[in-house]
Amino acid sequence: MIRALAIKELREIGWIVAIALAVYMVAVAAVASTAVEGGLQSVPGLDWVMYKLFQLGLYRCLPFVHGDFEGAFVIISVVLALVLGFRQSAGEAQGDTFGFLLHRPLSRRTILLTKLTLGVGLLWAASATAILVLAWWAATPGSHPSPFEWSMTYPIWKMWSTIPVVYLGAFLSGLRQASWRGTRLVPLAAIALPALIASMMPMWWFFSLPLSALTAVLLAVSILWIGETRDFS
């Protein structure tokens, strides 16, 4: 039963994750191909592309040292988290399929947890793939124009660990009922502060990670509670 539900979810959101993965790879390729002398920027006729990459902070960016790959990574990840969260919750309401789904002989908690596990799993897998591919390129001798240590990737992994909070906020916003769209987005607005604090505080293990984890747990509990108590009319 859970397998069937997971396959359904995969088929509904798999294409979104595939598109996001392609966008991640374009960012990774842009960084990798322009980071070294004689890379993509030496190919004639690509001035406009190089200019755009420069604007995005991806031109001659030194991955994990300077440049704005992290910025591009966060933007892609946040968009992916929002789209996945809303697709899996508001998408069921829009298609009027909540009644069909929730009448299956599975507990509501199991149905929602399966959705959340798949959503977080795919979100993390796609974004981790981007980090790992770029780190693998950087770790290959002759690629990265500076000494590379895997510890240089810690900052981006810290961002990666916070992304599910955005996803859960979007899921909750799509699931909960409100009299108008503005108040429906309250959970999404509410996560901005802890996410910001978590990304700015220096003591990651002692402060940011527990704050992100606590926010994620609170959101997951709220999702399960709303799922049990709201009317699916």
């Binding site: 039963m1 069937a4 359904k8 088929r11 509904e12 298609g95 009027d96 599975l106």
Partner: protein, 316 residues
């Protein structure tokens, strides 16, 4: 008697509006129950409360002996629910929908499902979004009955279907009903559909269950009495069984349940010019029973419509 569906003072408010009011309903095993009411009278809300999809403001309900608010997976397995509009994932093919639904049930009557899909000429590779409303209803019905449920709850299953498809759908439903021991709750506002399949009906009006009796009894009991007067008709005194009373020109139209000697005497006491007792079919009885006070339209008030009003009607 073994009641498959039970509600006790089931009440639902949306804000200040009472949608279902103190509903007491008991449906015995094997009954085909037609749940009637005009649009917006609380039929769908009641069904969703029965299935635990909507939480009642007050009262309780149970299906197959289990409280609706906490139906177990096993109970859900024994209950089929056909939601209004037949929502199925539109990106799926019929085959995908069958595969997805089958995964949740230990018991699955594949020959029956194949028979229904074959009867309606629905190929497994067809995308749900490419199906017409009627075909989607047929797929939804096939998916609902394949697990051999004890209880079928159908929320306005024929809404949006054309006459031919509706007839086909009901024929299938009748065949399914004939499988023994199956209880069906079937909401609708299409009376001819209900008349064909239901052996008991409930009429919900303004969130209140006004009628709960065998279909034939309802048809036999509701009568329209037309009292003719020479001038303005008088008020009819309130009495037991009087559903409505309204003046139509010089006539006084009464809708009465179980027309009796007492009603006859009360009518004669008003000294009418004529008394006519009209038998009603189910549809007429339902209409008379559920409609509110008739609005007087200016067009029928004896005034000549001017050109502008006709033009406006045409434009509308």
């Amino acid at each position: 008697m073994d009641h498959v569906i039970k509600t006790r003072k089931l009440t639902k408010y949306y804000g200040a509006k009472c949608v279902v009011n103190m509903l007491d309903l008991q449906i015995p095993r094997g009954c085909v129950y037609g749940f009637l009411g005009r649009n917006g009278t609380g039929k769908s809300t009641t069904i969703k409360m029965l299935l635990g999809l909507v939480h009642p403001t007050r009262g309780s309900s149970s299906l197959l002996g289990e409280d609706s608010s906490s139906l177990s997976a096993d109970a859900r397995r024994r209950i089929a629910y056909l939601a209004e509009g037949h929502p199925i994932y539109r990106w799926m093919t019929i085959g995908d929908a069958v595969k997805f639904t089958r995964a949740f049930y230990g018991q699955w009557n594949q020959p029956l499902l194949d028979q229904i899909l074959d009867h309606f000429e629905l190929p497994a590779k067809q995308k749900i979004r490419r199906l017409s409303n009627g075909q989607r209803a047929q797929v939804a019905l096939a998916l609902a009955v394949a697990p051999d449920p004890e209880l079928l709850i159908l929320d306005d299953p024929t809404i949006g279907l054309d006459t031919v498809v509706r007839r086909d759908f009901l024929e299938s439903l009748i065949q399914i009903i004939q499988r023994k021991g199956r209880t069906i709750l079937f909401s609708s506002h299409i009376l001819s559909d209900v008349e064909r399949v239901a052996d008991r009906i409930g009429v919900l009006s303004g969130g209140v269950l006004r009628v709960d009796c065998p279909t034939d009894h309802f048809k036999r009991s509701v009568r329209k009495i037309v009292l003719g007067f020479d001038g303005e008709p008088p008020e009819f005194p309130a009495c037991q069984g009087l559903v409505s009373s309204r003046a139509v020109g010089n006539d006084l139209e009464l809708v009465v349940v179980d027309y009796s000697e007492a009603h006859q005497r009360a009518a004669e006491a008003l000294d009418p010019r004529s008394i006519e007792v009209v038998d009603l079919n189910l549809e007429e009885a339902f209409i008379e029973y559920t409609r509110g006070p008739r609005r007087r339209l200016p067009l029928f008030a004896g005034e000549e419509p001017d050109d502008q009003s006709i033009g406006n009607q045409g434009a509308a």
